[in-house]
């Protein structure tokens, strides 16, 4: 009984300490403000305008060499298709899927990013943040530009000699540029879709 009372007192004391701590919004002595370099390293989302794209450039020829040296074909297939990872180079005549059948680029022609994605910047962003699997972030901007150019060249979107950089990449006209509906402008409290059950 005595121990139980002591325990209750102790718990109450801790609780009150916490309460006074909340009201003073302490810092707990952990954490610090990130440096501009750290913020830059985290700020990897690339706009369709390309305004965040770094300096650098690459062509399809350079990309072909990077594709081999980084072992991309190990997962994506030596020619960019047929591997266990998503198809990068669709077969001739592949059309974008009428509707999404899965949540990410899939192992099929119709969802290959070169014919599916509305913006070339999306491919740059994807490679830069997500590839190679397990070594994300290890590619230099030049390598990412080169790989993007290589995939787009093999998919007949750009020419082999085209050099992609922060200026030219956002201007690449993607085959599926007009293929997506923009998200609805949100008016919270309105029905999602008039006439929908």
């Amino acid at each position: 009984m005595v121990w139980r009372k002591v325990a209750i007192v102790a718990v109450t004391a801790v609780f009150e300490l916490c309460q006074s701590a909340w009201t003073q919004t302490p810092t707990y002595g952990v954490g610090r403000a990130p440096t501009p370099e750290e913020i830059r390293a985290w700020d990897i989302a690339i706009s369709p305008t390309g305004k965040e794209l770094p300096q650098g450039h690459g062509s399809a020829k350079e990309g072909a060499a990077v594709f081999v040296s980084k072992g991309c074909g190990g997962c994506h297939g030596a020619s960019g298709s047929g591997g266990p990872a998503p198809t990068l180079v669709p077969s001739k005549g592949a059309q974008p899927a009428m509707a999404m059948t899965c949540l990410a680029p899939c192992v099929n022609d119709s969802n290959a990013m070169a014919i599916h994605s509305p913006f070339a910047t999306t491919i740059w962003d994807y490679i830069n943040r997500g590839m190679p699997l397990g070594k994300e972030g290890s590619l230099t901007p030049n390598e990412v530009y080169a790989l993007t150019a290589y995939i787009l060249y093999k998919s007949n979107v750009v020419k082999e000699d085209d050099v992609l950089d922060a200026e030219s990449l956002p201007k690449v006209k993607m085959p599926n540029r007009e293929g997506f509906a923009l998200p609805p402008t949100w008016k919270h409290g309105a029905p999602r879709l008039q006439g929908y059950p």
């Binding site: 706009s47 509707a99 509906a181 998200p183 879709l193």
Partner: protein, 199 residues
């Protein structure tokens, strides 16, 4: 909302410690765990993380982000077993991405007739609302369903109603476009076992 705690304790790793984003009313993929950065932008970026939310059809896009009125019976539900005929309380949860839950109806005959369920917790916008209905099971096979209506008057549809809207055949391949808020049926077998009514 940027959340650092839940139920009086710091977020658990499974829930996204130390910080997670909460976007009430939107589907789960928006509730980013292990939140590291927030970048406010002036247009849709369509980056890696947007890939599941772009669609050629503006109608599908409109249904993809917010969830419509949705409910599910949690008891009796798939995998559970009723011990025999007699009195039970059917219980479940209802929610809507756009508004508070206004009413919930329950059917014990596969959708032929519906009875009003009681709301057993305050109906707050975008929050789970508990509902219940007293039920005498006669021991015969039956199908339980729930459907809810939110404060905007939107009614939770059955898969058949959704398929009719999209003019698509209702078969095993039919997938509700956008965020799926269709009615979930549970089939109660004569031995009391409860099964997924869609399987």
């Amino acid at each position: 909302m940027v959340c650092y705690a839940m139920n009086g304790e710091p977020l658990r790793p499974q829930q996204g410690f130390p910080l997670r984003l909460m976007v009430p009313g939107f589907e789960g993929i928006y509730q980013i765990k292990y939140l590291r950065r927030i970048k406010v932008v002036d247009r849709y970026y369509m980056t890696y993380d947007d890939y599941g939310h772009i669609n050629p059809d503006p109608k599908v896009t409109a249904l993809t982000h917010e969830i419509g009125p949705k409910s599910v019976i949690t008891f009796p539900s798939g995998g559970q077993r009723l011990s025999g005929p007699g009195f039970y309380e059917i219980s479940g949860l209802a929610w809507s991405g756009t508004a508070a839950i206004k009413s919930v109806e329950v059917s014990t005959d596969g959708g032929r007739t519906w009875k009003s369920a009681e709301l057993r917790s305050p109906a707050l916008p975008m929050a789970h609302t508990r509902f219940g209905l007293h039920w005498n099971w006669n021991g015969q096979e039956c199908t339980l369903m729930s459907r809810c209506t939110d404060a905007l008057g939107s009614i939770q549809p059955t898969r058949a109603e959704v398929a009719k809207y999209w003019n698509q055949p209702l078969d095993g391949n039919f997938r509700v476009p956008g965020a799926d808020n269709s009615v979930q049926p549970w089939r109660v077998a004569a031995d009391g076992s409860v099964h997924n009514g869609l399987a």
